[in-house]
């Protein structure tokens, strides 16, 4: 039905750039090979994309073509007894959960939004609050179907000896087009989380809470107030939880209705409003601290109830910065990053800190590794913001850390190449007709 249409109407979640690219949205699997063929014949670099929740440019292909996979969202097979589900790569986690939750099955790993496709979750090898327990999304993929530009379709699983499976998990869509994914789901009793919030006042306290919670809690994550940092003293809320044993099945979350209808004016976000917001957030969290039973949706996907929250950052858009640093020097490195940010006067609404466990992902370019990860968003103020992030880059580089491509829109090739030691192993698996703005910037 639909061929490629040239348009500039697609932006990534950060909304910093609005590139022109060709877009096609197939509705049936049989439309995919002709689209791939069309791109190959026209020598147009190709990229499959999903719900566009990646922040930077890993889901953009300026001057090239993207295949919007979101209408390919059919479940091929779902067996509630074995907990295995196979579906088109365009199926969202939201739709998946709606189907599997009544059978008390849930994805083993979910990122901070349920509006991601299976293909996107594979390509970015997303992680969640349970990384210390369950690793990343790729650890639970049993099989996937990968379409290469030569027309071949590869059925790949963890037993694949060619390396193509390991390259595709976390491979940012560069190894071809993921057509379908087969997942192993996890069994739950009910649909709420038995959670607890603990306020803390220093990084030392954060690490102590992390260490103590690894054995007792499946999910851990912390919010920190990055506008007030002095040395290792700072304010934060450590939240941890386990699936509740209460068999009650709560209703699914409503589709987001409350939205940000327009772009906020840029002046709405400034160091003062950020300090006020962070202050309020901490006080509210401290007031509510303690144990509580929470619906899974606000626990895992706190921002999903506000549609288009990215518009809060106004027309210039925003950058995300997410790094992971090795466990050996985590504390001083995270302290240095936070001090640098606090000194800049910039800050973030939702600065998130979490420790990753040592479960290795099958992916060659998977972001999670053992250590501590810090994620923040910065409003785009042009060169000043870029300069701040460049200072952070140097700290991450010196610490032997890495940045998360799904969140990145500007890292240097040097930082990327240093952060991902298996890059040389990955590169031969890149499909010659697939590319992205991100890849053209950082490729060796």
């Amino acid at each position: 039905m639909s061929g490629f249409i040239s348009t500039d109407r697609r932006q990534s979640w950060g909304r910093v750039t609005r590139p022109t690219q060709k877009v096609a949205k197939p509705h049936f699997p049989d439309e995919v090979p002709p689209l791939v063929g069309e791109a190959v014949r026209g020598s147009t670099p190709l990229l499959a994309v999903g719900l566009m929740r990646s922040y930077g440019d890993s889901n953009l292909n300026p001057g090239g073509a993207v295949v919007d996979m979101t209408a390919l969202d059919r479940i091929h097979a779902f067996d509630p007894r074995s907990g295995v589900l196979r579906a088109d790569a365009g199926l969202s986690l939201d739709a998946l959960i709606r189907t599997t939750l009544p059978h008390r099955l849930f994805p083993a790993v979910v990122p901070g939004t349920r509006f991601v496709t299976l293909g996107g979750a594979v390509g970015n090898d997303v992680h969640g609050k349970n990384h210390h327990r369950s690793g990343s999304f790729g650890n639970h993929v049993r099989k996937l179907g990968l379409r290469r530009s030569d027309g071949s379709l590869h059925e790949l699983g963890p037993d694949d000896s060619t390396g193509l499976f390991a390259a595709t998990i976390g491979g940012l869509g560069l190894t071809g087009l993921v057509e379908w994914v087969e997942l192993e789901l996890t069994r739950i009793d009910g649909s709420s989380i038995d959670g607890e919030t603990v306020p803390f006042h220093s990084l030392e306290e954060f690490f102590a809470l992390s260490d103590e919670s690894i054995a007792s809690h499946e999910f851990t994550v912390s919010w920190i107030d990055c506008t007030r940092v002095e040395g290792t003293a700072m304010r934060g809320l450590f939240s941890r939880g386990n699936w509740s044993r209460d068999p009650a099945r709560l209703p699914h979350p409503a589709k987001p209705k409350a939205g940000i209808p327009i772009e906020f004016p840029s002046f709405a976000l400034n160091p003062l409003s950020l300090r006020l917001f962070n202050d309020l957030y901490f006080r509210l969290g401290r007031w509510r601290a303690g144990r509580s039973l929470t619906h899974y949706a606000p626990f895992f996907f706190p921002l999903d109830s506000i549609m288009n929250w990215n518009r809060l950052y106004g027309r210039p858009g925003m950058y995300q910065y997410q790094c992971v640093v090795p466990p050996t020097d985590s504390l001083p490195v995270i302290a240095e990053l936070l001090q640098t940010i606090a000194a800049s006067g910039e800050g973030s609404f939702l600065a998130v800190l979490k420790t990753f466990g040592d479960r290795a992902s099958p992916g060659m370019l998977s972001f999670p590794r053992e250590g501590t990860t810090l994620a923040l968003d910065f409003r785009n103020r042009g060169t000043e913001t870029l300069a701040l992030m460049a200072r952070l880059d140097e700290i991450v580089l010196a610490a032997g850390g890495r940045l998360y491509p799904a969140k990145d829109g500007r890292m240097s090739a040097r930082l990327f190449q240093n952060g991902y030691p298996r890059l040389a192993e990955f590169t031969p698996h890149v499909d010659p007709h697939f590319s992205s703005a991100f890849w053209r910037r950082v490729a060796p």
């Binding site: 949205k25 509705h27 699997p29 209408a71 059919r74 479940i75 709606r98």
Partner: protein
């Protein structure tokens, strides 16, 4: 709850599939009719995974006018009766081409009106004999006023609309609450049919939004439902514009 038995004519359309998913979640038994058996099988598997109690496939060219009644009987026998018949298929066609080439015009009229009317009549016969059930036919706001840009398509949809209205009237005289016919008229919907148009903006609906309206209409409602509702007023205005003024526009 009783298992609903549904026949979807034109099951590979985006609106049809979105509607079928709503029925699947309710555990309905669903027969899918359309031309492409592979695509239908893909949809059937998905609906089963989402909760449909049973799915079956009727692979045929719905515009083929021979044997409609026999095919319909086959589905009814298969499902053991029928509760809702939903008709989605149709082609937009090419207006300019239809003006140059009468065979293009005939194709549009045959698919969008004649064959759709025959399927509707076959369904009406069954539902009436059964004494219950719903016939839901997807028309178009294009059938509300002839416009130079798509009046062949519009005429076919207008004709279909009058036919369904007539069936609704016929059913009403039976005075059975559970027997009714509805014409649903969607406005702009983001589907492959409209891929050539510039999309986005407040007037555009998603197939999921229209599906929810269709599902509600099948449960019982007036004979004409605009989807979404505001099209009723937009079309009221469009119909009221006097011809001398209307003829100056390029609508």
């Amino acid at each position: 709850m009783k298992t609903l038995r549904i026949l979807i004519l034109g099951a590979t359309s985006a609106m049809a599939e979105a509607t079928a998913r709503l029925y699947a979640v309710e555990g309905a038994a669903i027969a899918l009719a359309g031309r492409d058996p592979t695509r239908l099988a893909t949809i059937a598997a998905d609906l089963s995974a989402r909760g449909a109690r049973a799915t079956s496939i009727l692979a045929r060219d719905l515009a083929e006018m021979e044997g409609i009644e026999a095919a319909f009987d086959g589905v009814v026998a298969d499902l053991g009766g029928i509760d809702h018949v939903l008709l989605f298929y149709g082609v937009l066609g090419d207006q300019a081409e239809a003006e140059r080439d009468l065979s293009e015009a005939r194709k549009i009229l045959d698919i969008d009106f004649t064959s759709a009317a025959l399927w509707s009549l076959a369904a009406a016969k069954h539902l009436e004999a059964q004494g219950s059930g719903a016939l839901v036919v997807v028309g178009s706001v294009a059938g509300d006023r002839g416009r130079q840009s798509n009046y062949v398509y519009g005429a076919a949809k207008a004709g279909l609309g009058v036919l369904v209205q007539g069936i609704a009237h016929r059913f009403a005289l039976k005075r059975r609450k559970s027997l009714h016919a509805v014409l649903v008229k969607p406005g702009f919907v983001d589907t492959p049919m409209t891929d050539g148009l510039k999309k986005g903006g407040a007037l555009w609906a998603t197939p999921e939004q229209v599906a929810a309206i269709i599902r509600k209409a099948a449960a019982g409602s007036g004979p004409i439902v605009y989807a979404p509702w505001f099209w009723r007023f937009i079309l009221l205005i469009i119909r009221l514009v006097p011809a001398p003024i209307f003829h100056k526009t390029r609508l």
